[in-house]
């Protein structure tokens, strides 16, 4: 089988409003052919809306979307023929089997994948004739991934692909995504999981309130905040959380089970001040670790707000009015 020729995506000045809420405010982004591109942002940032506009599930108020040089709004069918998508909140009929589902979806494409090959590739051979209602969560996720590949896509769009997967499932999916890139696909994924984006994506865009606030390879973004990071320590007797939060450079202090984590925009100043605080209070340091900056620190630096610890909203886009 010939490797597909990857396609790029170009979104320009995309606006989408739901009643009084402006979900996208002039979104601009470009995905290069053959890269793994991460669309990051907390809930409500506009990730799912952007992907739904890209896939033609929603009509943007204005702006342009090009996929492989084709205007996605004017040629939706041509675009869909070369895109595979994994949606957050899709399901299938209870009584359908994986074999039937893959055969059904493949039958709509000229360049369809082989059903047995897809069953094997996604570990569904043994469950090929089982009904959807009897599949486990992981098996269902693998089935939807198989459907995503039913048309041998050149662009793959994955909306929060690892949500709900166990660590092993996540690792397997990460390996799969990398192999897709190596096989010549462009991958555009939205994720709420910053470590995942950092380890997986060639390039990321961070969305905040419907706008792009950063767009670079993860390492470049992290390098831009190299003075930032986190200090993890424990001491006896422990200092108060308030005292830690008041240290220079510290933006957030968390205490849990005798261990402190200080988020800092200036690791050097915060470390020196922490030592001084412990010395003054007569506390003895029992453990200490300085953690390199991450995308969370990038987000903090750019927005002034910590990255929210919230799970992705299932069907975020589908529930909006």
């Amino acid at each position: 089988m010939d490797a597909p020729r990857p396609v790029g995506v170009r979104i320009a000045n995309l606006h989408k409003r739901y009643g009084g809420t402006e979900a996208l405010r002039g979104l601009n982004l470009e995905v290069h052919p053959g890269e793994i591109f991460g669309l990051l942002g907390p809930n409500g940032a506009g990730k799912t809306t952007a992907l739904e506009c890209l896939l033609g599930l929603r009509t943007p108020d204005s702006g342009t979307i090009e996929i492989g040089g084709l205007d996605a709004r004017r040629h939706p069918r041509d675009v869909r023929a070369q895109v595979g998508a994994l949606l957050q909140d899709a399901a299938l009929q209870d009584k359908i089997t994986p074999r039937e589902a893959i055969a059904l979806f493949a039958s709509f494409y000229r360049n369809a994948g082989d059903v047995d090959t897809l069953l094997d590739r996604f570990g569904l051979r043994e469950k090929a004739s089982a009904r959807f209602e009897t599949l486990s969560g992981g098996q269902r996720r693998r089935l939807f991934l198989a459907l995503t590949f039913a048309n041998r896509p050149r662009l793959i769009v994955l909306d929060e692909p690892t949500s709900g997967l166990d660590p092993r499932g996540r690792r397997e999916l990460h390996d799969l995504i990398r192999s897709l890139r190596d096989a010549g696909c462009t991958v555009l994924l939205s994720t709420h999981d910053l470590p995942e984006a950092e380890s997986l994506c060639d390039r990321v865009t961070i969305l905040h309130e419907g706008r792009v606030i950063a767009d670079s390879p993860p390492a470049t973004l992290v390098g831009s905040v190299e003075s930032a990071g986190r200090i993890r320590f424990s001491a006896v007797p422990p200092p108060t959380e308030a005292a830690c939060a008041a240290l220079p450079g510290v933006t957030r202090a968390q205490a849990s089970g005798g261990e402190f984590v200080l988020h800092s925009g200036d690791i050097h100043r915060s470390s020196v001040a922490l030592m001084a605080l412990l010395e003054r209070d007569g506390s003895r340091l029992t453990a200490m670790e300085v953690l390199r900056p991450t995308l969370e620190d990038v987000f903090l630096r750019l927005t002034g707000r910590p990255w929210p610890d919230e799970p992705p909203q299932a069907g975020e886009g589908g529930r909006l009015p």
């Binding site: 033609g56 069918r77 949606l87 399901a91 009929q93 709509f108 069907g315 009015p321």
Partner: protein, 439 residues
């Protein structure tokens, strides 16, 4: 052309056969309705002959008002249609496939009912099988439009049940579908004229059990087309592919447009005189026996050229035929003569001869002959003999027309006089059919 739409159509059928709920609603409930009707009308001879139209329409209504929208809305709630929208084929094609699959499911349920009615109750097969199939196709297509509208309006499956019942129950109770139109009070019969069920039953009953078949049912099909098209149009404009999406306020105006079509067809039916209360054919018709027919006394009949009961000889010349042709055309289109109550249709046609005779219409003899020809062409001889015997032996049964402006018979003789003159003509006609009288 990809094979996706066809594969989807086949898959919808297959998934229906795997679902216990779909099997119950699709086949078990129609079977129960058939048995219930059979239990009530088992003593009729033949049983259920006059009820098959109602039984079929109940099955079609169930498939359209519940089966179709329940499936569509359940899939929308689960996100199936959201996933389908990513396919390179327009999603409307898949909806059409779902409608076509429902059509097949309903058709198979109707075939099952006809076969079981024949096997269990001895109900005759349809008089016009192809016309019955065509009528069933038209009724189902029209009602699937209503089902599509329900699917568009309902936010979830419980809402489908609620909206479906809003259509189903009125048509069952006062729409001439569950309770026969002829036993409903006059006001209910008029209300039924605003509902598609009445027309659906009439078309199907005519095709299934009446000799003239679908002749004279043009208005029924027009009503079904108007109501079905309006509902399907509104349903497709309001259709939502994703759970949680709201219908835009402006688009909601299509709902009154769809329902307005019911008002329009009911009003047109009223204006054109189609909402007149139906007469009932009493049990006396069923009581007429072959012995009654064989023992009929013709000795008291007046001659064919006497003042009362005039009946011209058969038309043999082109000139005779040409002179009466315009009247014959109007007579054949006269709706009381094509009603789904066939014995009553015979009595109504005999009234034409009686009223013309009593009114001393210059064409009275020719009209009486035209009525006889019409009866012979429209009904099987055995049935016609029995119906004429019923008119002759039970003059006070059924409904009589004592004025028929549509046929140029404007005078209004007393109904009792019409009934007694109907006896004369019924016997004259019956005697000829039985070979006891000669032209």
């Amino acid at each position: 052309m990809n094979s996706g739409p066809l594969r989807h159509f086949v898959l919808v059928l297959r998934l229906n056969l795997r679902s216990l709920q779909a099997l119950i609603y699709g086949y078990a409930v129609p079977l129960l309705f058939l048995l219930a009707f059979g239990a009530v009308f088992r003593d009729d001879t033949p049983a259920l002959r006059h009820e098959m139209g109602q039984i079929f329409v109940i099955t079609i209504l169930g498939g359209a008002c519940f089966g179709l929208p329940t499936g569509l809305v359940a899939e929308r709630e689960r996100g199936v249609w959201r996933r389908y929208r990513l396919l390179p084929t327009p999603t409307a094609v898949l909806v059409l496939g779902t409608l076509a699959a429902r059509l097949v499911i309903v058709a198979s349920a109707l075939a099952m009912q006809a076969a079981l009615a024949h096997a269990v109750f001895g109900t005759p097969w349809p008089v016009h099988p192809l016309q019955t199939a065509a009528a069933a196709l038209a009724v189902t297509t029209s009602f699937l439009g209503l089902g599509l509208l329900i699917a568009a309006l309902a936010n979830d499956v419980p809402a489908v049940q609620a909206l479906g019942q809003c259509l189903f129950l009125p048509m069952i109770l006062v729409g001439g579908v569950g309770v026969p139109l002829s036993v409903l009070p006059d006001f209910a019969q008029r209300i039924a004229g605003f509902m598609p069920g009445r027309y659906a039953v009439h078309a199907l009953q005519q095709a299934y059990a009446s000799a003239p078949g679908l002749r004279g049912t043009g208005f029924d099909f027009l009503v079904l087309a108007v109501i079905g098209t309006a509902a399907a149009l509104a349903g497709s404009l309001l259709f939502r592919w994703e759970a949680g999406h709201r219908i835009p306020r402006a688009a909601r105006l299509w709902v009154p447009v769809a329902l307005g079509s019911w008002l329009v067809v009911g009003s047109v039916a009223g204006i054109t005189g189609r909402l007149r209360p139906l007469p009932t054919t009493g049990d006396d018709f069923a009581a007429v026996t072959a012995a009654d027919i064989a023992g009929m006394d013709y000795s008291d009949l007046p001659g064919d050229q006497e003042l009362a009961g005039r009946l011209d000889p058969p038309f043999t010349t082109l000139e005779q035929n040409a002179r009466i042709a315009p009247f014959v055309a109007r007579l054949r289109a006269w709706s009381p003569g094509t009603g789904d109550d066939s014995p009553q249709a015979v009595r109504s046609l005999v009234c034409v001869a009686a009223v013309a005779d009593i009114s001393a219409d210059p064409r009275e003899g020719r009209i009486a002959r035209a009525v006889y020809d019409c009866l012979l062409s429209r009904f099987p001889r055995d049935f016609l003999a029995r119906a004429l015997a019923w008119v002759a032996l039970y003059p006070h049964d059924g409904h009589v027309y004592n004025t028929i402006p549509a046929l140029g018979l404007d005078r209004r003789p007393a109904p009792d006089l019409v009934r007694s003159r109907c006896v004369v003509y019924a016997k004259k006609y019956l005697g000829r059919i039985e070979g006891k009288l000669h032209d």
